[in-house]
Amino acid sequence: MITNIGYGSLIITFVLSLYGIVAAIYGERKNLYRFVESARVAMLLTFPMLTLVALSIITLLVTQHYEVQYVYNTTSQSMPIYLKITALWGGQSGSLVFWAWLMSAFASAVSIRKWSRDRDLLPWVIVVSLVTLAFFLSMIIFFENPFQRFWASPGSREIVAMFQPAGTQLLIPNDGRGLNPLLRHPGMVIHPPMLYLGFVSFVIPFAFGIAALITGRKDDRWIRLTRRWTLVAWMFLSIGLILGSRWAYDVLGWGGYWAWDPVENAALMPWLTGTAFLHSVMIQEKRGLFKRWNMILVILTYSLVIFGTFLTRSGVLSSVHAFAQSAIGPMFFIFIGITFIISLALLIKRWGDLKSEGVMHSLLSRESLFLLNNLLFIGILVVVFWGTVFPLISELLTGQKVTVAAPFYQRSTAPLFAGLLLLMGIAPLSAWGHSTWKTLGKAMWKPGLLSLIVLLGMIISGVHSIGALLGFWLASFAFFITIHEFWRGTKARHKRSGENYLTAFFRLAARNRRRYGGYLIHLSVVLMAIGIIGIEGYQTETQAKLKAGESIQLSGYTVTFKSLAEFDTNDGRNVARAVLDVSKNGKNLGQLYPRRDYFYDSQQPMTIPGVRSTIEDDLYIVLVNWEQISSGSATFKVFHNPLINWLWIGGILLIFGSFVAAWPDQERSLQLERKLASQNSSVVPVSSSD
């Protein structure tokens, strides 16, 4: 019953999407607006319909319908209810449904905005959104149906099918296989939704961009309309990436946060182009430059969003041969190819219309520096993209599998990231249109001096690594400049209005959320950079086999093995948990409990480190092995991760900064609207709350 409701709703949504595409094109071509309106309603309806689909799956998961293959593969009786719900995105077909569901939510949200001023764009926004949605729905319906059930034929042969094959009976297993233990982590509960939200919300700026290309609009209206979408998409993607890093740090037990794994790279790539786009659109808004480049960036971002989903869902990463055998892999590949080629063809067609309205005046102008910023982001993208796909190309052409791992990425991207830190310091001080070394130097000398004092302090305190010194100097340079910008603004406001400094500071940020939200994000990047330099440059580790009472030392810490217990839990785990005393310079710091959980249902182990976190460093201990019966000993791997917590603190600030930047500037927007109305101007408000 529930499977039929879910599957039926899926089919109806697919038909609705197809209808919406056809009605929107027909209405636009024939100038029959009622068809476009009808398509808009169809797009609006996709959300409630897909909500029904998602709810059907969740109901099946929670009520333990193990006759449904998806439920069997992703849940088991011992799993808590919240994990059963989140199993919606724990497997292939469920996560595609989840993707489509979020996409429909965004498409519906777009459809209910006021379209009176942008009627020409509407049909094409509908077409792009629904084509994307219909593609995902077709993948689900034809290749990855989450409602398929097990059937037993008379010869006890197991068949998986949506509808009952003749002469078979429903096969109901007693229990499921359970979710991959690595996914049973609170971070994993929120991480995929955030990532997917980021992915799907980037579809909206793309849809508007393509609509602007098709309709031939030369202005930057599409950018202004989607500015907030882009920022929200970027924020979700950032949260997804940060949570993913935290999850890796907490669960994978290898002492790091980012492995440059292809799946991680898949999420990083659209973030890179998205970040470049967020900066680059400002040039178009302020100066009318780089219209073509912005189109390229939004097309790239969309393609990378689909490519990211393709990489993680097609099986191509394990082997190009697995990809060829995968049902959805080739389809994704074709879809990416077709949408990319059509988008580029449209761009080429409008190439002449998208000429810049001005020219760059100065090397040190903000637009020039933003252009360099874009070059660096794209540089990193090329490294990451090429490193990710090269093993596939190599296997395809030579049959030889190769690995492109962290050392390659670290070496290739470190100078580019350093360049970005430098630009993050200089660019906010440069003016649009024209800046000189003199004006820049005047604005920069105080923060520059402070950063040099920090550098000197570092050298005196014994930091000798050139890379670390350069990194810390760049981070402190960007930090002081950003703080100085806040200070300048607060002081100006204080002098002008007589407000006290605190009020002036908050009102300053509230009056221009985009600018100061952006600065907060810059600050967060500085904090994250400090954490990254700390762990990348100064991580130390040691491993030893200890008997009870024996100790190992690392970076001033002494870790003493006390005991180890092995026991079963009610939720189907076998836990091996060690107790370790931790002290530093003779001072007792308490105990840590690294453990290894073995999940009986999925027969997979999970390593959970014991971590002692401070602002200064993390002591991170992994239980590698134990021989309790034979020798009463256990092997531990101990990592000392300096400054790593700044990465997480920066992550939280980044999310806060994104909120500030994306929050509508209502008060100012209203003031501007009034001002503009009084001037009888038809100019679009700069900070419209679209």
């Binding site: 037990g253 020219v359 070059l375 090329v382 003016a431 649009w432 024209h434 406001r493």
Partner: protein
């Protein structure tokens, strides 16, 4: 009591006769092997090499942190090779011969693999040339026009920048 003591002594004697030569032989054998490479390798020495090798059957996982049984065995192989006196390069070469180039963190620089290293810099240089051309044009123009900073189109920001400028001109800012 006396009988018990006697029998215990006999057992010890018998044990000594039987096992001590064996133990000595074993110890000599082991020490001969260690003699080739000094002390037995520590876990850290093994990990230092394992860190540079990637699990041949998993995706992108270095051997030092790979939790699977197979990887534990490969770490044992590294230990055995170190005990046998092999150096880091020889062990890496052994793994490459056994499992192919994919055990290395980066593809060896030969043939098609050169593309990994060459393509990103080429792209980046191409981008740099484009940016340079743009900026060069800008500099040419800069000498022909007397451009002032672009005025903010946002009234609030314009006012704000004006106040800042005035403050800076009056030398009060700081």
């Amino acid at each position: 009591m006396g009988f018990k003591k006697l029998s215990l002594n006999l057992v010890i004697k018998f044990t000594n006769i039987l096992f001590v030569p064996f133990m000595l032989f074993a110890l000599i054998g082991v020490s001969q092997v260690y003699a080739q490479s000094g002390n037995p390798p520590t876990a850290d020495q093994i990990n230092a090499i394992a860190k540079q090798l990637y699990c041949p059957v998993c995706e992108n996982t270095p051997l030092d942190v790979c939790p699977t049984q197979a990887c534990a065995q490969w770490r044992d192989v590294i230990r055995d090779k170190l005990v046998a006196g092999w150096n880091e390069e020889q062990i890496k070469e052994y793994f490459v011969n056994q499992y192919g180039d994919r055990v290395l963190a980066e593809p060896p620089k030969r043939g098609l693999n050169w593309l990994v290293y060459v393509l990103p810099p080429i792209f980046f240089l191409g981008g740099l040339v484009l940016v340079y051309k743009n900026i060069k044009n800008a500099r040419k123009l800069e000498s022909t026009i007397t451009s002032a900073p672009i005025v903010e189109d946002d009234p609030f920001l314009k006012e704000f920048e004006d106040v800042l400028r005035k403050m800076e001109e009056n030398g009060k800012n700081g």
